[in-house]
């Protein structure tokens, strides 16, 4: 693989950029692979990369229905953080954030991680108490997080609505300074380039139409490009997990919903942090390109439509202007939707299944992007060893029958 650098850029400039190598190969689908991964998004590509890199398994195919990185990887608001309440979650996401911190260099692809800090706003006395509980839980686990006073927030986020007239006045909040945003496409492309270079076959426009199972074991996969033999099959198809798992006869406790995000026109830098507010429900940051990136809650009915509804757009932008009154005269440039898989406890499922050789990574809900490196690494491990990676043992499929839910919302006193 030709290394990217300022030097290579100069060198190619002299050649009119006519000699750049392909970022990844486009090979023919082979009839047999040691491991087949369904889903060419961040998770699928990362899984393939770590299978080859860490476990030396490079006879791997990644099957992508459309274009790689075209699912939620290319549709999310690119936030990375590890400020979770429960140790199981924090351990996992902290591992992921650490990977992100070095990912650009590891993949030799600039993913533009900018650790501008994630601020959660508390808009009532009660919420501030919950946030203290939350921030302290993170500290106790040795991960950075700081409680912020109303005054500190006012100083850090000068454009925030601090007026007494605010419906939910800011009482304080907490920040994870290492949290931040990065370039989502770059993560998919970087993993694809590195995985392809290690021998992984990335097959785009290849839809899985069936999964061959006999005697409770995976035998192969039927695709729009033909049948492939394999006895190890990984699934990372955010949005369509229940549909694909059903092909193997596996039922999942997952509901698919539409989550939308939107961006404003690009403006010069004005927002220096990611700001989230559970009460005034939205989260806001500014991309390196200058667009204000805004997200909110998912539509509340099951959906496979990759488009947001008007009432959620209105709700999210309403909240955005309530938080940042200066956004009012700016213009919304683009709005889109992605399909998220939500588990009953809104936590992921990275697990073996009742079908031997069938491994799943799903339930990432609205937080899959930040989990890509750790998600790929742990699924790769689970596949390679046919045993869960320690980080994902708590996130097994059988936790529900034991009532062992990992419900981050629960820590906030939310019963659901």
């Amino acid at each position: 693989m030709e290394r990217y650098s300022a030097f290579s850029l100069l060198k190619h400039a002299l050649g009119g950029h006519r000699h750049w190598q392909q970022a990844w190969r486009s090979p023919e689908l082979k009839p047999q692979y040691d491991v087949v991964i369904i889903g060419g998004g961040g998770h699928g590509l990362a899984t393939a990369y770590y299978l080859a890199k860490v476990h030396g398994i490079s006879n791997v195919a990644v099957l992508e229905k459309g274009w790689l990185g075209g699912g939620n990887t290319g549709r999310n608001t690119a936030v990375s953080r590890s400020n979770y309440f429960y140790p199981e979650s924090t351990r996992f996401y902290e591992h992921s954030l650490k990977r992100y911190e070095t990912l650009g260099r590891e993949l030799n692809f600039n993913i533009m991680l900018s650790q501008i800090g994630i601020i959660n706003l508390a808009c009532s006395r009660h919420e501030l108490e919950i946030f203290r509980r939350w921030a302290t839980a993170i500290q106790v686990q040795g991960v950075d997080s700081e409680v912020l006073s109303r005054e500190q927030i006012a100083a850090m986020v000068p454009l925030l609505n601090m007026s007494a007239g605010a419906r939910y006045p800011v009482h304080g909040g907490f920040i994870q300074r290492r949290g931040g945003i990065s370039r989502h496409d770059a993560v998919a492309w970087g993993y694809a380039r590195a995985a392809s270079n290690l021998g992984v076959d990335i097959i785009q426009n290849c839809e899985v139409t069936g999964i061959e199972v006999s005697d409770g074991r995976v035998r192969g996969v039927k695709t729009s490009l033909g049948t492939v033999r394999t006895d190890k099959l990984g699934m990372a198809v955010a949005g369509h997990s229940t549909v694909v798992a059903a092909l193997a006869g596996v039922k999942l406790p997952i509901v698919s919903q539409t989550l939308q995000a939107m961006v404003s026109e690009p403006v010069k830098p004005c927002l220096d942090h990611v700001v989230m507010s559970p009460m005034v429900h939205c989260y806001i940051s500014q991309s390196d390109r200058g667009e204000i990136v805004i997200g909110g809650g998912a539509d509340t009915h099951p959906s496979y439509g990759q488009r947001g509804s008007l009432q959620s757009t209105e709700a999210v932008l309403n909240a955005a202007v309530e938080l940042y009154p200066m956004l009012s005269r700016m213009k919304l440039m683009r709005q889109w939707g992605g399909i998220v898989d939500i588990a009953p406890d809104a936590s992921p499922i990275v697990s073996k299944t009742p079908v031997t050789g069938f491994y799943i990574s799903t339930g990432w809900g609205t937080g899959g992007y930040k989990a890509i490196p750790a998600g790929g690494e742990t699924l790769a491990h689970t596949i390679a060893h046919d045993a869960p990676h320690p980080l994902v043992e708590p996130f097994s499929l059988d936790r529900f029958a034991r009532g062992r839910l990992i419900d981050e919302g629960a820590a906030a006193g939310v019963a659901h």
């Binding site: 290319g74 009012s328 700016m330 629960a410």
Partner: protein
């Protein structure tokens, strides 16, 4: 290029109305009817701004929404708007604008030096570098260079409205086809037709036609429209999004001036939600630029734009105009310009052959033609000076022959036309590629939508377009595709070379089409170049999906007026006026505005709370407790139902008795608690946590309607029907005894956990003796309207006893001292009843209850579950906070956390509660409490820190816990013999605007009639009993003096005239026989607003999505609907509308109407 303000004769600008404006500090003159773009052009301003990446000079390039070049920072300060389009900004007197992304100015921009680096900044260069040592060292610089305009830094001085429209047919675009389609649809008088157009005036491309016949045609159609009652033309309205179920989101510009001179009364824009039966898209087509070397120079424009600036704005943009095209439309434009005296020198056409007729006419017009040629270079520093052209090889894929230089000061180009199908694509419609016109046209629709005219690919004259995606045979480096983001043909070829061959990859890798115009002029050219680079056809390449909005839309317009106090509905306490008068510190709690504490002069928050706590402990306190949830359950199966709902066994709860109950969800998680009162064998009163009533009510209804359909039970939320005041403290009895009533509050007559109903000061009262403070407490409920009067009476009666109003904060201290659980604070989303010490009770409970089975899952058996406990800091002088954690013994992380903390003025130390791993088995153990780096030792203790044996609940009279200072006894003031009912909007005169009026309707009294367990059978029985037809939804049914308003199956509001309420209630009770139905007086718990004025339905349409057209919602029609986020009942009365809502929402609704009717 010489310019003057003079305009061609047929221009549509009013030269009688000159306007002055400022751009980049210079003062210029334009005319009414100009856009900022046409005015800048008229004044010879060729460079307006700079491009995003390389800071290349950018001038006006198009005339409409497709122009992504002429972006300005409009106005300044709070009025400032970044990235405003000069082509879409109608000129107004005093307009101020400056160019963007340039320093010091667009004309002389030092950052243009970046152009020198172009070679090393190809597509995606940033993915390949800035990796070492770390991106963060480079980011600051890159970030500062990115972005275009400057974001405002202050709140928007203007406001926006959101409004709903319903129409059978919606036509988008008022050009020729749109006008025809709309008029045709309007033939049917019952068909509501909306015609939306985004330009300053209707007419579409007709506005750019110099042909008198076209203008006459337009005038006649507009006349006919004006005469058409069922056809509404909405100009200045762009449809931005096409959603499911034929819902369109449109934005209408109201005012023109956008600076400080803007109209302060009118909204800046109105955001329309339009529910359409059928949609007709007459959105026209967008002209494409041609891709050739240096095609981005100011002075190079779209041919259609040149046409529009010449004829609509009357500008002479060039003395020597050259056309460059691949289709016939440009020839027609050129000939038209020539006819009107503009100097068209040459037409360069990539096609080797064109229709002889065109050639002939061109020759006659003195236009030289160059067929089978391409422009290969352009020259000119500040504007266009020269072109270099060269002959194309036969296949058009190369160049041959000598270079020829043409002098010219304006190049009008046309690369073909793309039907505007953004909305069609958003609607889910498929697009198909039409080779002969090289453009996408509508394929299969997935909603009720059709495209007509150019949008459907039906061009007035055949285009004979020859695909020409870029100029081969010369470097692709300076052949620009996306003018704003500086994307070249070479960038797209590079992406393909690097295997970014999916159209989405190319878009994201090169940023082609991601600029503010979202690819309106660059997408199709990009596709063509990609197709060539990858040897695929355009259909094989496919297209990116069109996303809303069609055009960047003001964010504030999506927010509307729901900001500040109106961001969410708020509810007010019955005695709100008194709280404010007492100077209460109010806060939002579950949507209610409630007093936190009542600071006195010079008192800190802590001092105020401590004073209030001691007052309750030593004397008596008064709390407005009205948000306390109150549900009534009626019916023969009520007890059975409650036994399934509560963890407790309620089988032996006797009438008049009360019991604390715990409620789980089906997962076994504690979701609510409260006191259950048995009023009668088949009648119970449930108390829920404050603000929890509606959630609990919803859950209970779901069980009854979806699971337990056989149970004969009726659940009613009466929370806001009653004002509930909590009188608490050793002297509570003494105070209550002062008020005339038939309930004996004495200890022996009224024991703890008992309930009484009767009358107090002449009004019905319900009194519960329960305690959340540990003191003798009476929770006194009277009809909501009498709440304020009761507060005043109790304050008066309590004066001799030093009665003190106390807030939620003091209540929390009192209950924390007592270790009383507060669900939501001391429980989290995992708490099960066994964590609260309920295992024994559960063991004794026979039968099933919601969530019981879940308790037996593995997780429920875990000895390390977090359990409710008291936490006593060993150092009594220290304190901690709610949110501090209890550390696991092995130092391995958290073992639970502190959930409630307060300084107890009674005990003189901090008192804390929490949930801690296995706490119930670890009482007395020492644990470490951690917060913000500080660890301190504490002991796990029983939650109750004060009066564990509960002696104070039996107390009679004062039992001071500390030397309470007793001030001199004031004299008992005069008590009202009868409590007076007060309106929730007392003292508010309503709203009286020229076109909208609002006042409280006092002429109605309301009775709610509900049949027990709402079965059809019961409704029938009732109908027979009353021998009248009971009305269903929709129509207010008059029956004698009564007006029946349907609210839900078996649930009506019966409206009667003022004063008749009591007798009608008695009559109804007699008529219905109390076995069949429940009749209650609810006038007091509702507020009725009478709305009128010419624009009443407009204002209503800003609060509800209901179709309010008189045909759908005429006289005497009623509907229960969502209004401004709250449930209301609307009743049309001739040209007025009555709105009936919960009284606690009255203040919110008044404020909302005030804001929503500002422009009326």
């Amino acid at each position: 290029m010489k310019r003057g303000p003079q305009r061609l004769p047929h221009a549509r600008v009013d030269t009688g109305q000159p306007l002055t404006f400022r751009f980049e500090g210079e003062t210029y003159r334009g005319y009414s009817g100009d856009t900022l773009a046409s005015a800048l052009l008229a004044n010879g301003v060729s460079i307006v701004g700079r491009s995003f990446k390389l800071h290349r000079p950018r001038g006006v390039f198009a005339a409409g929404r497709e122009d992504a070049n002429a972006l300005v920072q409009l106005e300044h300060g709070a009025w400032s708007e970044p990235n405003a389009r000069a082509t879409l900004t109608p000129l107004y007197e005093g307009l101020v604008a400056k160019g963007q992304n340039a320093w010091p100015s667009p004309a002389w921009d030092l950052l243009a030096a970046l152009g020198l680096l172009k070679k090393v900044l190809p597509a995606g260069f940033y993915y390949k570098t800035f990796i070492w040592p770390n991106w963060k060292y480079w980011e600051g610089l890159v970030r500062r260079l990115a972005g275009l305009g400057e974001a405002p830094t202050a709140a928007d001085p203007q406001y926006y409205l959101k409004q709903t429209l319903h129409a059978e047919v919606v036509v988008v675009g008022a050009g020729r086809s749109g006008l025809e389609a709309a008029l045709a649809a309007a033939q049917d008088p019952d068909c509501r037709v909306l015609l939306l157009d985004e330009q300053e005036e209707p007419g579409g491309s007709l506005l750019a036609s110099p042909d008198p016949a076209d203008r006459a045609w337009l005038a006649s159609r507009l006349e006919r429209i004006a005469r058409c009652p069922n056809l509404t033309l909405m100009p200045r309205t762009s449809v931005n999004a096409y959603h499911d179920h034929n819902l369109l989101a449109a934005l209408q510009r109201i005012g023109t001036a956008l600076g400080p001179q803007a109209d302060p009364v009118a909204p800046r824009e109105i955001s329309w939600r339009i529910f359409a039966g059928r949609v007709v898209l007459a959105t026209g087509a967008l002209e494409r630029p041609l891709v050739f070397p240096h095609n981005d120079r100011p002075g190079i424009m779209l041919a259609g734009a040149v046409r529009e600036y010449s004829h609509r704005y009357g500008l002479t943009l060039g003395e020597r105009i050259v056309f460059f095209c691949n289709n016939d439309s440009a020839w027609h434009t050129a000939l038209e310009l020539a006819e009107h005296g503009l100097r068209v020198a040459v037409i360069v056409d990539v096609r080797p052959r064109v229709a002889p007729e065109l050639l002939r006419r061109a020759t006659v017009a003195g236009i030289v033609d160059r067929l089978g040629y391409s422009v290969v270079h352009t020259r000119g520093r500040r504007g266009l000076r020269q072109l270099v052209i060269r002959r194309l090889t036969e296949g058009g894929d190369g160049l041959q022959g000598p270079r020829e230089t043409l002098d010219c000061d304006l190049l009008a180009m046309s690369g073909g036309w793309s039907p505007t199908l953004h909305l069609y694509s958003q609607s889910g419609g498929q697009l198909k590629w039409r080779e002969e016109d090289s453009c996408f046209v509508p394929g299969t629709a997935s909603q009720a939508v059709t495209a007509v005219g150019r949008a459907n690919g039906d061009f007035p004259q055949p285009l004979h377009t020859q695909a020409y995606w870029l100029t081969s045979g010369v470097s692709a480096d300076c052949q620009w595709v996306d003018f704003q983001y500086d994307v070249t043909a070479a960038d797209i070829q590079l992406a393909a070379r690097e295997n970014y061959v999916s159209v989405e990859h190319v878009k994201r890798y090169t940023t082609n089409g991601m600029a503010i115009d979202q690819g309106k002029t660059s997408n199709v050219n990009g596709l063509g170049i990609l197709a060539l680079a990858t040897g695929r056809s355009i259909p094989e390449v496919g297209t990116t999906r069109f996303r809303p909005p069609w055009h960047p839309a003001t964010i504030g317009a999506w927010a509307g007026i729901e900001l500040g106090t109106l961001y969410q509905p708020f509810q007010r306490l019955p005695a709100h006026v008194c709280q404010v008068a007492l100077g209460a510190q109010m806060a939002d709690m579950g949507g209610w505005q409630r007093p936190e504490y009542y600071p006195r002069a010079g008192e800190s928050e802590a001092q105020a709370i401590a004073r209030e706590v001691l007052a309750v402990r030593n004397a008596v306190g008064l709390l407005d407790y009205s948000p306390l949830g109150k549900l009534e359950v009626h019916g023969p199966d009520a007890r059975e139902f409650l036994n399934r709902v509560y963890v407790n066994n309620l089988t032996n709860l006797k009438p008049g008795a009360a019991r604390y109950g715990l409620m789980l969800n089906e997962r076994g998680i504690v979701v609510d608690d409260g006191v259950v009162v048995c009023l009668a064998e088949d009648h119970f009163l449930l108390h829920t946590t404050s603000g929890g009533a509606s959630a609990v009510h919803r859950a209970l209804e779901e069980w009854l309607q979806c699971e337990w359909l056989a149970l004969r039970v009726l659940v009613t939320d009466v929370t806001t029907q009653w004002a509930t005041l909590m009188l608490s403290g050793p002297r509570a009895r003494a105070v209550l005894a002062q008020l005339p009533g038939d309930i004996d509050p004495s200890r022996d007559a009224f024991a703890h956990m008992q309930f009484r109903s009767g009358s107090l000061c002449g009004v019905p009262v319900r009194i519960l003796r329960a305690s959340f403070t540990g003191e003798v407490s009476f929770e006194i409920s009277v009809p909501a309207a009498c709440g304020q009067s009761l507060w005043e009476a109790l304050m008066t009666a309590g004066a001799p006893q030093d009665i003190t109003p106390f807030g939620i904060e003091a209540l929390m201290v009192l209950r924390t001292e007592k270790g009383y659980l507060h669900v939501g604070s001391d429980t989290d989303g995992n708490t099960m009843p066994q964590d609260l010490g309920w295992s024994h009770a559960i063991g004794k409970k026979p039968g099933d209850f919601i969530g019981r089975r879940s308790l037996t899952l593995e997780v429920g058996q875990d000895p390390q579950r977090l359990q409710f406990t008291g936490i006593a800091l060993l150092d009594e002088t220290s304190t901690t906070v709610s949110g501090a954690h209890v550390l696991a013994g092995d130092g391995g992380g958290s073992a639970g956390y502190v959930t409630s903390v307060c300084f107890s003025p009674t005990l003189g130390r901090t008192v804390a509660l929490g949930i801690v791993a296995g706490a119930r088995a670890r009482l007395g153990e020492t644990v470490a409490v951690y917060y913000e780096g500080k660890t301190q030792p504490a002991r796990l203790v029983t939650p109750c820190q004060l009066d564990p044996e509960g002696a104070r609940l039996q107390a009679d009279g004062a039992v001071p816990v500390t030397g309470a200072s007793r001030t001199a006894t004031p004299q008992l003031g005069a008590l009202p013999p009868v409590l007076t009912a007060r309106s929730p909007v007392a003292g508010d005169s309503g709203i009286a605007r020229s076109a909208f009026r609002l006042r409280e309707e006092a002429g109605l009294e309301l009775i709610r009639l509900q049949v027990f367990h709402r079965s059809e059978g019961q409704v029938q029985a009732l109908a027979t009993h009353l021998n009248t037809a009971l009305p269903g939804p929709g129509i207010a049914h008059r029956q004698g003096s009564r007006r029946w308003l349907w609210c839900a199956p078996g649930d009506w509001l019966v409206a009667v005239s003022a004063g008749a309420g009591a007798t009608e209630l008695a009559a109804l009770r007699a008529d219905t026989g109390e076995l069949l139905a429940l009749a209650t007086e609810v006038t007091d718990s509702r507020v009725t607003l009478r709305l009128g004025g010419a624009r009443v339905r407009d204002v209503l349409a800003r609060g509800t999505t209901l179709d309010l057209h008189p045909r759908q919602f005429g006289n005497q029609q009623c509907a229960v609907t969502r209004f401004a986020g709250v449930p209301v009942l609307l009743l049309a009365e001739a040209d007025e509308v009555l709105l009936i809502a919960c009284r606690s929402l009255a203040a919110y609704l008044l404020e909302w109407f005030g804001a929503a009717s500002r422009d009326c």
